[in-house]
Amino acid sequence: MKKVKADPKGVLTGAHYMDGDFAIAEGALAAGCRFFAGYPITPSTETAERFVERIPFVGGVFIQMEDEIASVTALIGASWAGKKAMTVTSGPGFSLMMENIGLAAMMEAPIVIANVQRGGPSTGLPTLVGQQDMMQVRWGSHGDYKIIALSPDSPQECFDLTIQAFNLSETYRVPTFIMTDECVGHMHEKVVIPPADKIEVVERKWYEGPKDKYLPYKPDKDMIPFMVKAGDGYRFHTTGLTHDERGYPVINAECQDWCVRHLNDKITKNADKIIKYEEEQTDHAEVVVVSYGITSRVAYRAVQLARKAGIKVGTLRLITVWPFPEKRIKALAQKVKAFVVPEINYGQMVLEVERAAAGKAPAIHVPHCGGGVHNPEDVFSVIKEAAK
């Protein structure tokens, strides 16, 4: 893994007023993404539209595929050709993508997918907000694998975290997700894009040894195997089947054990390096509000109301949602009365909080089934109850 400065061609330095969807496209271009395959779906389409408008002046490809299955699969092909590649979608499209998210995980192909979440299930609420794919992103494709998912709470963070998503994806050779939502995606705010030389991007760890010695799945010291590009003369093989270090299929329990452990351990054992969260006033807190995305901004109003009422409330905003910061929750669980977890779903990340707290402190969910954000008063009243 090598850190380099961003290619100035893709960086639109300056202060802008743009929405989260556009900021994702700008983040991708700044990160060096030069391949975008997508399929239109509300409320994410603006990212694709922004990318296709900009890419002719940067140098790269946008292709509108026939569906989301094809979009993700094309990313994997482009990734093996050496390109940084991304797509964007929402609920129904995300469901279609699951098949080949598994292929990307299995082939260890770095790709980035943004999900601008809307209300589900099924067609649900095409134009209205939801946070209901938080478990799907972790568990959606069949089999055991791990991914990285980030959740921005503002257009600025859409830009910043998209760059992070590419950097993490390239570092760990894993599909990486930007789990935003309709509110953040369509929210217009100031987005400051720094000069290219202030943006750090990760370059893929290319193999440079003798051609006949290349093993596409031999873990390096940091657990991550080296990559090569199609067309560079390595004439290597890769497959969605359970495979050995050579990338050859081996259909038995021993190889499966080696392969699956690797896909999971490379994330679990690097979790401390990956995980980012924002914490405030948790030192003496009785109650800690755990939230992410748009809900963290709504929850903050509730926290202000609670503090005014004399309740000691801390906040923990998840920036990395997967891998989940379970160590931090576990530590906090020793000293708080309760966690309050508002989410625009019927109970997803709260299950992780509950698991990490392991009975030391309750995790109280504040559900919202989608179509809008919480009323801060509702979250406030749950905080009040939790503090008793």
């Binding site: 002719p56 490809v61 699969t73 092909g77 482009a78 098949e99 299929p249």
Partner: protein, 290 residues
């Protein structure tokens, strides 16, 4: 006492093209896939193409295993998704000759939508489809290509669904090169692949191949040799035939040959030409070959 003598060890003529450490392959004796693969290797050799710049993408199924045996950059993707994978690969590195090598179930059953759209947008890939009239890897189920009245494990009383005629489909969707052969026409298959390497755009070659273990056994058609005999007696070479006339009935006549060979700029060329025209010098061309 005998001395070690240097033994003559003939080199397998396909050794430079195949992953010999993965041989023996999984295909049944009498299967036609190996024949098509041999023709492909032969075409690679005769074309004197830079093997470092050829990539093979397969989906899932018996033919899907080809990617695992060729000593090239080779990708064994998911069921039906070889074409979108190849699309990404080609667009990611436009100097590659990307070949999709897969079966009928993979390419026009589960992957049918990708097939029609890649042909429509004239993606610059060569698609070789081994058509054995059934889903063989899973045990001989009815396919989008199974002839009417053929017996399949999920059509145990005979197939009553109309099958696709693949050259007609490819032609209608805009393919620039369309040919059909059987496993008997090994020289023709080789020549077609060689010719297709020289062309641009979405190129499609169908090769009818025997599935001895499932399709032939269920239908009591005998072994591989019997099927080659059937191909011999019932195939007719008719270059340039109207693709609307190429339906294959159960054990019926098969029209083979080259049906389409036309020039049409592929996707990237269209993109570059169009954007240059519209945007002028501000446009940064992508992946243009010298």
């Amino acid at each position: 006492m005998t001395k070690d003598v240097e033994r003559f060890e003939p080199k397998n003529p396909m050794e430079d093209f195949l992953r010999m450490d993965r041989i023996p392959h999984i295909w049944c004796s009498g299967c036609g896939i190996g024949v098509v693969l041999t023709s492909f290797v032969d075409a690679l050799r005769k074309s004197e193409i830079d093997l470092n710049k050829v990539a093979v993408v397969s989906g899932i199924g018996c033919t899907g295993r080809v990617a695992g045996y060729v000593k090239l950059d080779s990708y064994h993707s998911t069921h039906g998704r070889a074409i979108p994978f190849a699309t990404g690969l080609k667009l990611g590195n436009p100097e590659l000759q990307v070949v999709v090598f897969s079966g009928d179930g993979d390419l026009v059953g589960i992957g049918g939508n990708h097939f029609v759209h890649a042909a429509r947008r004239n993606m610059d890939i060569l698609v070789i489809c081994v058509n054995n009239f059934n889903y063989a890897m899973t045990g001989g189920q009815v396919a989008a290509t199974s002839p009417l009245n053929a017996n399949l494990s999920t059509a145990p009383y005979g197939n009553f669904e109309y099958p696709f005629s693949l050259p007609y489909l490819a032609d209608a969707c805009g393919a620039t090169y369309v040919a059909r052969w059987t496993c008997l026409h090994i020289r023709r298959v080789t020549m077609s692949i060689q010719e297709a390497f020289q062309r641009k755009g979405f190129r499609f070659i169908e090769v009818i191949a025997p599935c001895v273990t499932l399709y032939a056994r269920r239908n009591r058609l005998g072994d591989g040799l019997n099927l080659l005999k059937y191909y011999h007696d019932n195939s007719e070479i008719r270059h340039g035939a109207d693709t609307r006339t190429l339906d294959i009935g159960y054990q019926g006549k098969m029209i083979v040959g080259k049906f389409v060979d036309r020039e049409k700029p592929p996707f990237l060329e269209c993109m570059n030409t169009h954007l240059k025209k519209v945007l002028g010098d501000k446009y940064v061309p992508y992946g243009e070959q010298p």
